[in-house]
Symmetry: C3
């Protein structure tokens, strides 16, 4: 698809400087863009590229004063980065919305209910009584078990697997290979040393506007629901165990794991590769740094922890600084011991 | 499916109090159950819900004395939780066993051997000479490479990928997205700084009654077999490298990784996000805490380690406690240095 | 397939001792091999097996002097292990090359371009304008989004998912379940506490001779490319965030995660479960030990770090040794305090 500078200016409410009929058909970074491409300049440290880039159209900040003439058509807006993001999102939505219909071969149970403008990709499996809201896009290779519900405008990328009875809200995005609703890890030890599987008959409930990355695993509850609340954002390869709750607008970086029945509050930020034990609560606004191991509830809102085991951020930093000097500390102790010994010997010899 | 209180009582060998014809068609937690649902009460702290729940039928402990009359039909058993679990497992097995036959489209090589009552889901690929035992359930989107063997009564959830020549025992459950038999990570450094791939021609052997979670990766052996022994239980997103052995009834929590050729003993318990280096052995009954980094063999059975690098649990806890007070410790040393200096000065001035 | 000792000797340029017509049809470890199998002996400590093995043909080092007669046919080469690896690789390539054609059912867009001797497995999805070079093998259940390019002789194992516009070089191997090109994790916080998704319109670029393990996630760049450079080797369950670059012949062990925009140099070695923060650079030849947490750029080539937070390897080892003796260190301080107190008291009493 090709857009003219004037069409783009209309979408992002900008003003055109130069040829309004200059057209572009793709995007690129300003330092790499060539003719026919759109770029933007937000960070002043890249201003030099403005005069050397091959881009045909460039979005820039209203406030920017040019040092030299620019070959490309410019579109001025209050905030170039934000305008560019808006534009891209609009573009991606157009592309996504263009996908409609059911590709073959696919498997759609007769009892499934399919909303308007839905896309079902090839090799996708839609089980009995599944409900897909309007504008739902289910890419190829997805599995939706019996009774799964997907709300309006949600997108499932290729190979998402959702076990039976799970419920996904509206405007949710789930990336490739993520598994929702696998059995929670529950085994009752038996007197003879073997284990008996504890049936996992709950489900997973993902609320509206959640985004989940690739190859995550979110287990179904033993009973009730494992819940990802409104607007939470999860990165890739994250493990969410059975009966966990993740609060509204909480953000979790890649490879973090949260053990069973733990409740994470709202607007919590969790770094990558963090681990959180089961059956605890994390207060609203908490921050948990990368690779932390949280073994106790965080009851005070907006506190910050780090380390494994995790403790208060500031005091852990102090301890870590001394840890790095432990050989020096030991040496100081050895010297003190020597001096004391001297003093004691002298005292005796008096 | 609908069951009456008397039918349920028969299955779990309980005695009915109230209307034996009360029927239920689903399960729920006692605090959330509504008419037509079955619940149970095992933990006395939830007894209040017994008098307010909407559940139609409730399983309770024989010993419980009611404080007030209960609207629901009760079924009394020696252990309500265990009876409920038995019931659910029976129910899940009925549901699973109802799935029989080969869904279309699927790909089943002519040389494959398919046992009685097998289910093959749509979009599943069954390679040459694959053998599926009786009652095996292979859900949609699974891949079974040439010569793979799956024992009786095993279940492969959607999207399990098993490379050629791997062998899975009886009553095994493997969850969605798990990969068995990918190449082990072996590259021989060459004099020119490049790497030559070391061919990985062994396989993966999963013994009976093992359960493996979602999106795990279990690599094939360089030669011989990577082995998951009888009854071991693995959570999600676990990495098992080539030539590893996991002992009988060993339990491993999510996101743990075990490096090449390491042998884990029987009835070992490993917490989440632990890492174990290659070419070591872990004695039977060992416990490795979450996020530990085990760099040496654990030769003493039933010992417990924690930390990264991992050491004896009790002494590591002591060190961790002091670590948190390191700033205080340093202060004490500085004070000692000051006092010693005073004493030394005074001594000289005498 | 069956091979004679003389055929094998020809491939690996060895000399035959014994019956040149002895045939084998599979491989095994020397200690487990039976009649009809090929084995090798490289490590002198296994020499005893040479005289007891059932193997029909054994590859051994030229230099080895036999202590007793050997029943099997021997093939002598300068380096038995290396010859064996060469042989296996040749065998695997023959097997892989035998797969040609498009299995049904599959989905191949008409605009896709398919090279010579390509294999497309059943249930694989090839999007619009996809280009597959010659000898490319795409196993079942793969997804190749629109405009994806795969270079000559590359292999995609079952269930690999590659989002639109990503580019994969020649002789690349990607294992099952790995996802290339999912959206980078970018969300702009809004004044009302919600998040706005930052569109991710770059791609992933995988250069020649890279190997990537199973169930990894490599995110597309926000703009530009996330790049895995020539010959890099990645193990399983690895997370590579948007705009990361991994240098030539860099090797990364399982479950490691690299945050956004970080540049890893050439010939870097990274252990398992390591984490590296975003927006830093790691110099060529660096070594990062398992479970390390790297929070700062490593500017000095060939340096080694360990720990979380990660510091210089040697000094961290020293600190870790003292850490384990912290209770003893504290005791020594307490004793010093006592002695000082004595001295101070005595002084006053003088």
């Amino acid at each position: 698809m090709e857009f003219s500078a004037s069409q783009i200016a209309l979408i992002i409410k900008g003003s055109v400087e130069g040829n309004p009929n200059a057209t572009v058909n793709s995007f690129n970074k300003i330092e790499e863009a060539v003719a026919g491409q759109l770029a933007f300049l937000a960070n002043p440290k890249y201003e030099d590229y403005l005069y050397s880039t091959g881009a045909s159209v460039i979005i820039i900040n209203e406030a920017l004063e040019l040092r030299e003439p620019v070959a490309a058509t410019l579109i001025r807006v209050p905030d170039a980065y934000s305008a560019f993001a808006t534009l891209l999102q609009a573009y991606e939505q157009i592309m996504e919305q263009k996908m409609v219909g059911i590709q073959e071969p696919s498997f759609v149970a007769k009892s499934a209910s399919i909303g308007e403008n839905v896309f079902v990709g090839a090799f996708t499996y839609i089980g009995e009584n599944v409900k897909l809201g309007k504008n739902v896009k289910v890419h190829p290779h997805c599995f939706l078990g019996n009774n799964v519900v997907i709300g309006d405008n949600s997108i499932l990328h290729p190979g998402v697997k959702i076990y039976h009875d799970c419920v996904v809200g509206k405007k949710v995005i789930i990336h490739a290979g993520t598994v929702l609703g696998g059995d929670g890890f529950g085994f009752a030890p038996q007197p003879d040393g073997t284990y008996k599987k504890v049936p996992q008959i709950g489900n997973v409930l993902v609320e509206d506007e959640v985004e989940i990355g690739s190859n995550c695993t979110i287990d179904r509850a033993t009973m009730g629901s494992t819940i990802i609340h409104h607007g939470a954002k999860l990165d890739n390869l994250i493990q969410i165990a059975h009966n966990v709750e993740i609060g509204t607008y909480t953000v979790i970086a890649a490879q973090t794991g949260i053990s069973g029945s733990t409740k994470i509050g709202n607007r919590v930020m969790i770094g990558g590769q963090a681990g959180i034990v089961g059956h605890i609560t994390i207060a609203d606004g908490s921050r948990i740094n990368a690779q932390s191991g949280v073994s106790k509830s965080m009851k005070q809102p907006n506190s910050v922890v780090t380390g494994s085991p995790a403790f208060d951020y500031t005091s852990t930093l102090r301890s870590q600084a001394i840890f790095r000097n432990l050989p020096d500390l030991e040496k100081r102790i050895a010297e003190l011991e020597l001096l004391i010994k001297q003093l004691m010997t002298e005292k005796e010899s008096i």
